[in-house]
């Protein structure tokens, strides 16, 4: 089912829908001036979900520990900020490099094996990093997190304001760059090879493909981009804490990608935004029981939106084409 829908959705929703999505995002600045902080947060979630979906949706590699890289990005930002490195873009690049490097170190144990072993290994890695961050009080602040560190002005001009104006444009710009980058990667010969691995890894070996190398590159890219997302959250919220690399965040990114339609770049952005918005809305309605609402939405989405939001939109597009 997955492969069928992804080829359809990718052809329907390749670059076409990116521009309207961007315009809607820009419009939201003027339509919801009181919600800029929330919207910037949705952009960050979208970057994180895109980073994860490069693994799951394109290469077919599942992971339950992707928040590790998100957390590393966040802590890198906080630790650098405490040591006087606070230029947002410099920090962003460093977070990208650090989380990519950690992904590079982990790739050997993640890439080998099958889906089940990968789930267990990535789950284990997630727990290890969580515990390490918890215990390394001197570096990470342990369970209290890191509330006070310096975040500089963007380009030396724009401070991160209370209304979230700077955060909005900053995160939207990074999201656009990541979106275009992944569009290019997934349309490249490398991207075709990733889909080849997803579709039939056995045949990939039989055509002489360096499968493990491809997966290693993907894992590093994916980890590095997740690190960017984590850095953005730390910069815009001025906070880094354990929940940024915890299991729940790892599980959430899987849900966001699935809800949006794994393998579809615009779909995953919509999935992350929908998930983030629902979570926020439900926790306002009931701070205690919001998990209940998310659970129902997730289960419904599996039955109603079989291939995510992207699949539903592609189906709609097909129906309209037939009518026209």
């Amino acid at each position: 089912m997955n492969s069928v829908t992804s080829s359809v959705t990718s052809s329907v929703m390749r670059i076409g829908i990116g521009l309207p999505l961007f315009l809607v995002a820009v419009a939201s600045y003027f339509l919801f001036p009181g919600q800029l902080g929330l919207i910037a947060h949705l952009f960050i979630l979208a970057i994180f979900a895109l980073s994860y979906d490069l693994l799951q949706g394109h290469a077919g590699v599942v992971s339950l520990g992707h928040a590790v890289f998100f957390g590393i990005g966040a802590y890198t930002t906080a630790i650098l900020g405490r040591h006087g490195v606070s230029d947002p873009l410099v920090v962003l690049v460093l977070a990208f490099l650090v989380s990519g490097a950690v992904a590079g170190l982990l790739t050997r144990i993640v890439v080998v094996g099958n889906d089940l072993t990968r789930l267990l290994v990535t789950l284990g890695i997630g727990f290890l990093f969580f515990e390490a961050a918890n215990k390394a009080n001197w570096l990470t602040g342990g369970a209290d997190g890191m509330p006070d560190f310096e975040v500089g002005r963007l380009f030396g001009l724009y401070a991160f304001d209370f209304m979230g104006k700077t955060a909005f444009w900053y995160t939207l710009a990074v999201l656009a760059v990541v979106y275009l980058f992944l569009l290019l990667v997934t349309s490249s010969p490398f991207g075709v090879a990733l889909r080849g691995i997803r579709e039939n890894v056995r045949r990939m070996h039989a055509i002489g493909a360096p499968v493990n190398r491809h997966l290693a590159v993907t894992y590093i890219m994916s980890g590095a981009i997740a690190g960017i997302a984590g850095a953005l959250l730390a910069q815009t919220s001025r906070f880094a804490s354990l929940d940024m690399l915890g299991f729940e965040r790892s599980a959430e990114v899987m849900m966001m990608a699935t809800l949006g339609g794994t393998g579809s770049i615009p779909g995953v952005v919509l999935g992350a935004a929908t998930f983030g918005y629902l979570k926020d809305m439900l926790s306002v309605i009931s701070p205690k029981y919001w998990h209940l609402g998310i659970g129902i939405v997730l289960m419904l989405s599996v039955f109603v939106l079989r291939s995510g939001i992207a699949g539903a939109l592609a189906g709609l597009a097909r129906r309209m084409e037939r009518r026209a």
């Binding site: 075709v192 070996h205 039989a206």
Partner: protein, 253 residues
């Protein structure tokens, strides 16, 4: 004589069971060589061990005179050894064209590039279209593979293998699962392959084997029973017995 494939003492064991036992097989370059034998004779296991899909328990494999015993499957492909599968192993969600271009991108080591568009590499796409034209599927290039009938998918198996530019092509029951009329046309395409490409194929249909093979190796119980020209094999009483005996056994069961 230049040897395309040479195995010596090739053995594959699964626990106590010997699937391939001490097989020393030589295929001359440019030959069309058939591998036959009853079900469970170890033909597919031999193909796996030759191509490196499973490791040999002992023995050696040489391709074009080079010892590849300790090379991975992917490395053997780079030495010019390609294969097709008895049961389709295709990239089902990708288009027919993408299935073939992917093999070319890998051969040219172009899959390292993530900063270029795959669709803009005209040389690769033209080559892929020529492989598809060879198997008469160029008209279906943009269709997803899973939407094609099984017979057409069997031909994509071959087109992908050709795209690796092999010197030796191992075909594991290339016409398995298709009606007799279609297996004819699949073998007609195999027959039309360039003469300098060495072919080793597994096939059950004796009519096809005797028509298209120049040499035949008979595998029984994981071991080579005999080898010879089609005329020699068809005259061999033991071979007839193996096949008749098997048929008799089937009837009894």
């Amino acid at each position: 004589m230049i040897t395309a494939i040479e195995t010596s003492g090739l053995t594959v064991r699964f626990g106590n069971f010997t699937a391939v036992g001490d097989v020393s097989l030589t295929v001359a370059a440019g030959t069309r060589h058939a591998l036959i034998g009853p079900n469970g004779a170890g033909k597919t296991s031999l193909v796996h061990a030759l191509t490196g899909a499973i490791p040999a328990s002992s023995g050696t494999v040489c391709i074009g005179g080079e010892d590849v015993t300790h090379l991975s499957q992917a490395a053997r492909v780079r030495h010019g050894l390609a294969r097709t599968f008895q049961i389709n192993q295709l990239f089902r969600g990708l288009t027919v064209l993408e299935n073939v271009t992917l093999a070319i991108f890998e051969r040219e080591r172009k899959t390292r590039a993530f900063w270029r568009l795959a669709a803009s590499d005209k040389a690769v796409i033209d080559e892929a279209r020529s492989h598809l034209a060879f198997v008469h599927l160029d008209a279906l290039a943009d269709r997803p593979v899973h939407s094609l009938p099984y017979g057409a998918q069997r031909l994509i198996e071959i087109a992908i293998a050709l795209a690796t530019k092999p010197r030796v092509l191992v075909l594991d029951e290339p016409a398995a699962g298709v009606p007799a009329a279609q297996s004819e046309s699949i073998f007609e395409r195999i027959h039309a392959l360039p003469r300098d490409l060495t072919l080793l194929f597994v096939e059950h249909d004796m009519g096809l084997v005797f028509r298209f093979a120049e040499r035949i190796t008979v595998l029984v119980g994981g071991q080579i029973m005999t080898e010879g020209t089609p005329a020699e094999i068809s005259a061999d009483d033991r071979v007839r017995q193996v096949y008749l005996g098997r048929r008799g056994h089937h009837a009894a069961a």
